[in-house]
């Protein structure tokens, strides 16, 4: 079990191109994250947990869909760690497993209003499904 999650973590590191060991644990990413309050696991925890191979909780967390991809953490990190890219890679790792998705197409109409730009729907769907 543990070996499995180490393997997934290594795959995530490889695919994201992020080196979590570079992190000095200053917490600036979480200090700047606009979605912090909505997240169960925060950017610095993503970095730490992937580094230590503890990815199961991350894979199943709704935090994955709260990341706005605003890249504030990426730009402001003093160590060049790029936490957002790691969050993205964890999300991909989850969605690529068979049948995993965050939202069904059928759920969408209820969430729309007249003004919602297409951009939002497209973005959300890129994030929520493979």
């Amino acid at each position: 079990m543990h070996n499995d999650s180490r393997k997934i973590a290594d795959e995530i590191i490889l695919r994201s191109g992020v080196n979590p060991r570079r992190c000095m644990k200053c917490g600036k990413c979480s200090g700047t994250c606009p979605a912090y309050e909505e997240m169960e696991y925060h950017p610095h925890e993503f970095v730490y947990m992937v580094e230590s191979g503890e990815v199961e909780p991350l894979l199943n967390s709704k935090s994955l869909y709260m990341c706005l991809s605003c890249f504030a953490c990426v730009d402001r990190c003093p160590r060049g760690v790029e936490p957002a890219k790691l969050v993205e890679a964890v999300r991909n790792a989850y969605l690529r497993q068979q049948d995993n998705k965050h939202m069904n197409a059928d759920d969408v109409p209820a969430k729309l209003d007249d003004d919602l730009p297409q951009q939002a729907i497209v973005s959300a769907f890129r994030k929520y499904r493979k």
Binding site: K25, C26, G31, T32, H44, P78, R79, G80
Partner: protein, 664 residues
Amino acid sequence: MQRIGVFVCWCGSNIAGTVDVQAVSEALKTEPGVVFFTNYQYMCSQAGQDIIIDAVKEHNLTGIVVCSCSPRMHEATFRKTAAAAGLNPYMVEIANIREQCSWVHKDMASGTEKAIILGKAAIAKVNLNAPLTPGESPVTKRALVIGGGIAGIQTALDIADAGFPVDIVETKPTIGGKMAQLDKTFPTLDCAACILTPKMVDVAQNDKIRIFSYSEVQEIKGFVGNFDVTIKKKARFVKEEICTGCGACVEKCPMKKIPNEFNLGMDNRRAIYIPFAQAVPKVATIDPSACNMLKNGKCGVCSKVCTAGAIDYTQKDEFINEKYGAIVVATGFNPISMDKFDEYAYNQSKDVITSLEFERLTNAAGPTQGKLLRPSDLEHPHTIVFVQCVGSRCAACAEKGKEYCSKICCMYTAKHAMLVRDKYPDTEVYVFYIDVRTPGKNFDEFYRRAVEEYGVKYIKGMVGKVTPEGNKLKVRASDLIAGKQLNIDADLVVLAVAIEPDKSARPLATMLTASMDTNDFFTEAHPKLRPVESPTAGVFLSGACQGPKDIPETVSQASAAASKVIGLLVKDKLKGNPCIASANELMCNGCSTCANVCPYGAITYIDKEFPMFDRTMQTRRVAQVNPAVCQGCGACTVACMSGAMDLRGFASSQIIAEVDAICR
């Protein structure tokens, strides 16, 4: 033909364990020139050295080969032994049969075989050795200190105290440096001015010390013991000898809105100014970019009010040439620019300040007379957020900031936080930290006092964003211990900005041919054992130009540099390294290739007359190596196309002999 003695060392079992020392000495006895051979347990011991001395005397040896440990270990020892036996110390060669043979090869047969070959190579080399004598050069008994901060001041005072004349060159109108801008000093909280200004006065009153303020080093030539320096004394438009520093001119100057550098632009000065009350030298300086009289000839008020008649609008830059035996670099540091860190809104709000600006805000001589008021509206701040490590400890790939820890920030931030809580107990003080680094005498105790006695709120985490809103600064940050994101409405944000070497350091290093690291800090000759010397002989390092340092460390390094300078200046003559390049004038064709590759500028060209076969004289241009400057790298020997340039002690013929011996 040399008469060579071969001495094979067992080094206990270190060598004898893998190398058959008897076989080695036997095998080497038939080599050309060898007249004596022996082996002994410990050649480096007194008894071993006596064997060498006796053999030299008994067999009239002219060369010695010791097959032993690395020459880096005992070459100096055996050279002294040779000298004691009356031989030139450079007639000794070492065959390294321990580190590079017995210790790395396990098999006796191959170890012995290799040791024999190494011995043969050493013998081949000694056969071509010539006695060498180190050159001597005189020492100018005067030191130059570049930079007049606490580092430069301490170094100058210590050197002068030993009786040697010292010149300080300072770019600003006054000495004192960063320490003069500080309020209190950690961990004792004594006031910086109270301990610095008496030293500044000592410098001014010391008849061994000359101060060149408002001056720059223009050119440096020469070498250890004999530096030739040109100093540019910038025109200050005030006659330094006459000005009494009364300040009447400053008071009457109509140009009142010039940002005051000493207070980091937080208030204004006049076009004619004295940086601060205790300035040394206490003379006025006219800022030519602000003075109306200098710009368009309209004004002249200062000249009218000066009763001493010290104002001189026609003053020109002056150039001074002086000789020095040693140079001390004390160019100090500056906070880095905050342009790449504007998530902290330094460029967007006056109430986001650096720690150095904070020093001025709490300093009784500062823009607010020591009352802590926020720069935007001069209100007393009730919530202050300190952010540590701004621009320090950044990875290179983040493309901003510095990779190193600036070292002083943890302590001065603790000091600031403590002082605020002490003077204004109604103020909330937060310090955001990544790590608190307090190695130093009484340092951690000091930081703990800030927390325990003064109630400073230390939060493990980092500020991510500062947003000015109305008269507040909205601070968004993480609290990693609590697992929370904090939103604090602050009145003042103080950034502990990374420090970097002064911009003048890089061109200075080029002038000195002194090496620097990638951060533009000067490199020391050895990081552990020669921490205050530059690798360039005669150049010494004092203070933050070598790396971030607090005041106690700076002062210790300054005194250490001074003692090294004194150690150099007390010598009447300097002995050089005799293993240097020299040109065979008969072969030199004067092409300058060697001079172009020499990293030290040690090679010059002279016109010299040579007798010809027909008894006429011919003048030719030939290379000459300055023995005091040449360090013996040998770059020129390879560059030389005519083969005129050779390196003593490592002559081409010697190295080829070694190659031949190995390949035989």
